[in-house]
């Protein structure tokens, strides 16, 4: 399985990432799932001016590798790309991109959801939200933790679909 992890200040081009992956996997892949996270302009009824993301070089990449390792064990994937931005971002800017490709849609869609759910609780990043009223460090929510934990629960039965 091909994988690429990038932690970067600069923006990314979702279309180009999808095209590159499609070109490099021609014929093998029948499904490409993408998730792109974007900075919201409101949180807790406050107006957000910016979001500052920091990471721990070396450890952050390792934490993302670990999430992708588990996705790879769970679904028949052809490729996974995770691009995560750091630094100061303003509302409307892209923060994170997750791409997962497979022969069939179910694996690609589920793996994409799984990876972003686990990034919320396991990826080594810190976010500081700057609003008119001041700044605060934000943490993953109870909902984030329960979504992440749900993936550890036994899955309901059902074979992987062979349709595309």
């Amino acid at each position: 399985m091909y994988r690429r992890i990038a932690i970067q200040h600069e923006d990314f081009d979702v279309g180009r990432e999808l095209s590159d992956l499609r070109a490099s996997s021609a014929g093998r892949v029948g499904a490409m799932a993408a998730f792109c996270g974007v900075v919201r302009d409101h949180a807790r009824a406050e107006s957000v001016e910016s979001l500052e993301l920091e990471h721990y070089p070396g450890m952050t990449e390792r934490s993302i590798e670990s999430v992708i390792d588990r996705a790879e064990q769970r679904w028949p994937l052809d490729a996974v790309v995770v691009i995560h931005r750091v630094g100061r971002l303003t509302p409307g800017e892209q923060i994170v991109l997750v791409l997962a490709t497979s022969q069939h849609r179910q694996a690609a869609l589920e793996a994409c959801t799984y990876i972003i759910d686990l990034l919320k609780t396991e990826a080594v990043f810190w976010k500081r939200e700057v609003a008119e009223t001041g700044a605060r460090w934000i943490e993953s929510t109870g909902a984030d933790h329960s979504r992440s934990a749900d993936w550890s629960a036994p899955r309901p039965g059902g074979a992987v679909s062979e349709e595309d």
Binding site: G37, E54, Y56, G58, M59, R62, S63, I64, H84, I95, V96, I116, L119, K120, T121, E122, A123, V124, F125, W126, K127, R128, W137, I138, E139, S140, D144
Partner: protein
Amino acid sequence: MIRVRFFAALREKLGRESIEVDSKMHSDLCRVIEAIRAQLGEAAAEAVCASNIRVAVNREFIGRDVHLREVNVRDGDEVAFMPPITGG
């Protein structure tokens, strides 16, 4: 020397990004915390021991249930104290 790093809210609270600890005198994480107390004060030592702070040695998380005295550190190691993380 052992490099001790503080991230995010903890860095702001302590007013420091990192400190250096003499490795001859500090052979486990308890001794690293003693060194933090000596260099940055009691409030700093308490802050790094808060229940929501995770510890990593050489970029590997130490399990929440592991006692700090059981974790050996030596010259050249990097210890990190990390507030709750969130990506995505």
